[in-house]
């Protein structure tokens, strides 16, 4: 191996891939049989974290950053004056194996700029995955990013070697896409998704009949949307998201706050802050939809198009729906318990278990670990009422915000509080 050359390529091609936020490696069931290398039967593992706090679990690189397209939001775009590089198929295989054996990674996330044609590019990505599986007996995780416009035939083959496939929708609205990537068609994104969805369904039903059916993209498919590049609302974004979850059996939708990379008049100027808080609120909303049983229309709708930045969407929902509260911790059903601010999934389960033994009071709840600071305004339990029935939602919000700040303020102001 020519280490210096590889190092340079790695530098360029990891750098270009870093804006893709889909990095999780969970959800696949590929157990190590016949004493091969690797196992993805457990939850994915984050082996490290970048300085910006994101999980590193996969070797995430581009095969090449040469591209014939010119999407405005992308560093790899044709018109961008940057160093270009390309990995050989074998180089990616060797890197993946060497990193995996040292326990640096859970597997590979391979994406690419489009060189020559979508099919040509897709075919090369598949060759990497196939080599890893067939020549290296590798059972670690492989995520291939499908190239928009790739043929059905190649999409079908890709899923036989990859654990997850993704097509990044990138821009959540059609109009936004038209503006920023005029050469690309909305259908180019949808078609591969449709194909993958159908293949997954087909393989699932076949494997019920025939035991030896190979697995097809066992971890499903995911997509990514860039947030804040065009003027879309939070509602637009989450409705797209809900659409993908529902119609394409999407496993995950990722939200990526737009990082300004050029001075294109169509885009936020260089130096514009990355909308990280907004991104965070979108993930929280996504989480509420997937695990807490909220319908997207409860969280965002025509009257409420933008998430609140100063409070999380769950608290925001509760404050907009005061008529549902307070609920009696010892009686209320799971569904509503899940909607109490300050009570998470795990605490809900603990409460449901513990209340079979005795009526719970404030002290029990505190020990279970719920955040009393918020929860207390929305619940009653086996003790005297805490307070505040007829405070307005706006005042309650301010009160909660103040309380959660004062927790920190106290640490800094210890001397003052002596008096």
């Amino acid at each position: 191996m020519d280490f210096d050359r590889i190092k340079e390529k790695l530098n360029i091609l990891a750098d270009a891939a870093k804006y893709d936020v889909s990095c999780s490696s969970s959800g696949s069931k590929r157990t190590n049989t016949k004493k091969g290398l690797g196992d993805s039967s457990g939850m994915g593992i984050c082996h490290s974290y970048t300085q910006d706090g994101r999980c590193v679990s996969l070797l995430k690189i581009l095969l090449t950053n040469h591209c014939i397209f010119d999407c405005a939001y992308c560093v790899t775009r044709k018109s961008n004056d940057i160093k270009r590089a390309a990995f050989k198929v074998q180089e990616v295989v060797d890197l993946t194996i060497s990193f995996y054996r040292r326990n640096y990674i859970e597997g590979l996330f391979l994406s690419s700029g489009i060189f020559k044609s979508p099919d040509h590019t897709m075919e090369r990505l598949i060759r990497v995955a196939k080599k890893l599986r067939e020549e290296e007996n590798f059972n670690g995780y492989i995520h291939l990013k499908s190239i928009p416009g790739a043929s059905d035939e190649l999409m079908r083959e890709a899923g036989l070697y990859a654990d997850r496939l993704s097509v990044n929708i990138e821009i959540p609205t059609k109009s936004g896409l038209k503006l920023l990537a005029p050469e690309k068609k909305h259908e180019d994104f949808m078609k591969p998704m449709e194909k993958v969805k159908n293949e997954i369904i087909q393989y699932k039903s076949e494997s019920k009949l025939i035991k030896s059916t190979p697995k097809y993209a066992p971890a499903g498919q995911s997509t990514q949307m860039i947030v804040g590049a065009t003027g879309e609302s939070d509602r637009d974004i989450m409705y797209s998201s809900a659409f993908f979850y529902k119609n394409y059996n999407m496993k995950r939708v990722y939200y990526s706050g737009y990082v300004p990379i050029s001075n294109d008049p169509r885009l936020p100027a260089l130096g514009t802050q990355v909308p990280m808080m907004r991104e965070n609120r979108l993930y929280q909303t996504d989480w509420l939809m997937r695990f807490y049983g909220y319908d997207v229309r409860e969280l965002l709708n025509n009257d409420f198009q933008h998430l609140e930045m100063d409070i999380d969407p769950k608290l925001s929902y509760a404050l907009r729906n005061r008529h549902l509260f307070p609920v009696d911790i010892n009686k209320v059903d799971r569904q509503l318990l899940l909607r109490v601010p300050g009570i998470g999934l795990k605490s809900v389960n603990k409460i449901l278990q513990a209340r079979k033994f005795r009526k719970l009071n404030w002290e029990h709840l505190q020990k279970i670990g719920i955040s009393m600071n918020r929860a207390k305004y929305f619940i009653t339990c086996d003790a005297r009422e805490k307070e505040l029935k007829d405070v307005s939602s706006e005042n309650l919000k301010q009160l909660i915000i103040q309380n959660s700040f004062s927790k920190y303020r106290k640490e800094f102001n210890q001397q003052l509080s002596l008096f």
Binding site: F3, L10, T31, C46, Y49, D52, G53, R101, A354, L360
Partner: protein
């Protein structure tokens, strides 16, 4: 009832034997301590407990009846926490479980149940971190070698993970703090204890011991790590929360490579 302090060999079977003896002899236990540690109770009598397999099996069997497999696992994990005094809490929880109707292990309003579940959770977290942060280095004789220094004794619970993941490579994970390692030889994983040469270090690729190219891969990995960072999004507080500083010396991506 006699009130006594139990001294045992510090192993999990040893602890289970304590439970057996306590019930059999109707003892009132004030402390359960591993050998080599001093008791706090000045006026209690001390009983030495000899680990006996049939007692271990009996207690395990009855525990499995009263607890879910998760409950048993939680007990074991909390034991591995090595938190001083954890044995007595485990014993207290076991008594509570035996004395009550089913599913008492989930009664988080009971103090020892809650404490045990917290300790188990801490151990579980460290197990998970070790599975993530272990970095193998390839030695000259084709062994993937790693050292660790975990707060809790997680070696017994991470072995399975590495065994199924690295079935086709020989590896050794060594716990410096407890001077105990697990060695996998392509067939089975076994505990080993050994003296490590001082200059083998915890990262880097000393050519006396490590394969040619080993250090390059550490450099490549660091290179990769640095390239994935998005400068406009740096959040060191979050970074340190995920990768606590005490682990840094084991991570080649955090190594200064002087």
């Amino acid at each position: 009832m006699k009130s006594v302090v139990l001294k045992y060999d510090g192993s999990f079977p040893g602890f289970l034997t304590c439970v057996f003896n306590a019930y059999e002899q109707k003892l009132e236990i004030t402390e359960i301590i591993p050998e080599g540690e001093d008791q706090k109770q000045l006026f209690s009598e001390t009983l030495e407990v000899i680990t006996e397999d049939f007692k271990v099996q009996r207690v395990l069997k009855s525990l499995k009846k009263k607890l879910s497999s998760n409950g048993v696992k939680r007990l074991y994990y909390s034991f591995l926490s090595e938190i001083p005094g954890i044995e007595l809490k485990m014993y207290d929880m076991i008594r509570y479980v035996y004395s009550s109707q089913e599913k008492a292990e989930l009664d988080y309003s009971h103090p020892s149940v809650l404490d045990i579940s917290k300790a188990a959770k801490q151990v579980g977290r460290e197990k998970h971190r070790m599975e993530a942060f272990i970095r193998f280095r390839l030695t000259k004789d084709d062994l993937y070698f790693a050292v660790i220094e975990p707060d809790f004794n997680v070696l017994p619970v991470i072995t399975k993970h590495f065994k199924s993941r690295y079935a086709d490579q020989r590896w050794l994970i060594y716990d410096l703090k407890r001077k105990l390692g697990v060695h996998y030889d392509l067939q089975k994983a076994e505990y080993v204890s050994m003296e490590l040469p001082e200059d083998i270090g915890i990262s880097g690729g000393n050519p006396d011991y490590f394969a040619e190219g080993e250090i390059y891969f550490q450099h490549l990995w660091k290179e990769y790590f640095d390239s994935t960072n998005i400068k406009s999004r740096v959040n060191m507080r979050l970074h340190i929360q995920h990768v606590p500083k005490r682990y840094w010396k084991y991570l080649s991506e955090k190594s200064p490579f002087a």
